[in-house]
Amino acid sequence: MSDATIDPVTQPAPKRSSLHQTDARTRKRNAAEKRFKAYGICAIAVGIFFLVVLAVSIIRSGLPAFTQTVVSVEFTMTQDQFDAAEGELFKTKAYSAFFNNALVETLKEKGLEVESDAKAFERILGKTGGTLREFYRANPDELGKEVDFELSASSRVDGYMNGRLTRDNMEDSRFLEAADLDIVDAMITAGIIKETFNWNFITGADSGVDNPGGAGIGASVVGSFFMMLVVLCLSLPIGVAASIYLEEFAPQNKFTDLIEVNISNLAAVPSIVFGILGLAVFIQFMHLPQSAPLVGGLVLTLMTLPTIIISTRASLKAVPPSIRDAALGLGASRMQAVFHHVLPLAMPGILTGTIIGLAQALGETAPLLLIGMVGFVARGYPEGFISGFTDPNSAMPAQIYTWAARADVGFYEKAWGGIIILLIFLLTMNILAVILRRRFERRW
């Protein structure tokens, strides 16, 4: 009724606009939205760019660690020659001389003349005499038979083979001289030098500081594995139990508030502090063995616990309280409500948190430096290693750190190769986290 009496002067008619024309406000809003999307895409692109740069540089620097240059020479050593060599004062020198002779002969057969220069051969192939002597002392029945003897070349030759080292960029040193490359070229022409996959890098143990070619990461993978086992077996039950108690049972008071604040703070404590703590408590006070995966695992457990507790509590909190009410209202005890209903719903979050905590622990180096799991050259590997939580060992990141700190540039590519292995493990763990999450997630 009153509509009809509206005065057109005091009550202006509403402005009519066409839907086919975007007005200024909408245009501005759309532009802002487009800009925001563009920023997002830029950010992602930058991220991907750096990821690719990182991946490429890691792979380029690390791949050579997985190949190894070997020289194979066929020869026969007779019993007489063996006895003669054993009779010498410098026995390994005699073996070296014998080997060098065989090498020169092999090249000669292919029509290549090289001067027999014991020093040059040693720079290329290392101390061949010792290797040869060890072989024949271990396998005396090979005497008098023709053997195809494979020797790994030095890391410089390795570098020359895969292009890291060229005639232009090399400097003469006690490790390799330019003239030595002529011998290597001759070996290449003769076809007795080749690159093979370096299984030793994956399965072997660390070598001495002057032998980058023989260094492997296998022992420290085993060490890391034992540590992760300790971390998983301790931090998962302790962390989950603590979170359930704090979240579902503990009364809300000053004391639990204090605990809560402390846990959050612990998550931010630098890992080296945990290392010092481990050194003081586990090694000096409790007299647990040094350099042992058990101690490393204990220290990393301390570090991982806050992460697990925080993520577990967050996922427990995310379970709607109505589920707890439903269970309690039916006469379930608190524990039944938690274990039958709340925990299964929180499981994906707990698992993800745990695996991320483990992955962090796997990549942690600093605390291991303090409990002596670093700079450790394995002797007698693999005996004793597989057996133990308490045998001295290293861990992957600590091993990488050791290699990166060594003077010989041959260790440089080993460090990168170690990083590739470490990243493969981390990637596997993260994929596992995603799969478990999917597996346990209830979409209903």
């Binding site: 589920i323 707890r324 039916l330 006469g331």
Partner: protein
Amino acid sequence: MYDAPKLETALDQQDIKISADKVQVYYGETHAIKDVSVEIEDKTVTAFIGPSGCGKSTFLRTLNRMNDTIDICRVQGNILLDGEDIYHAKVDPVQLRAKVGMVFQKPNPFPKSIYDNIAYGPRIHGLANSKADLDVIVEKSLRRGAIWDEVKDRLHAPGTGLSGGQQQRLCIARAVATEPEVLLMDEPCSALDPIATAQVEELIDELRKNYSVVIVTHSMQQAARVSQKTAFFHLGNLVEYDDTSKIFTNPSDERTESYITGRIG
């Protein structure tokens, strides 16, 4: 035909199931329930009405000690179930809640199958000795929840996949599966459409044969339709408690009258 059972109910109605005496509830400093005394009868539907925040839910939750889960909540006074003090130190609230079931405002089925939703209570209370027993209980409860026909073909489908009204009836079926003696319902129809509401109301009337039902409701019509007794709460006080017909036709307190005629609340 109808006379005999009616007489029986009339006789049963004399029994007092729950008797609350001078109950006070505090949330920290807030005095949420002030000096409430009420006697809830067996095999009767009792409605709690009152404006929002007057303490209906709070009082309902004191009847099965669900308030124990709230740290800051304190309850004083006596509440007797069949003459036994439910706040006595010897009483395990878990045992009490098996006797006094509860249906919540928002349907809250477990994210499990329909079958497991119903079977959960009987399982933890050991009501079934075999799988066959359990099957019988599940079917009986779903029938009493007036939802059997809708779900009998998909007992192993998730309970959360049902519609809101079906979920609420599932929750009621779940509550009756544990064979409680008292059923507390906190605004069970507030999230439901009129058809589902009518189904739930029918169900409540059905349940009255076996249980004492206490229902909190926002709707005066609902209270008038389903209940025999009505309690009107206002600002934490129990203003009036009487036969439903009396409350709605001839209330003795003027606050009750204002509320049911729509002047407060």
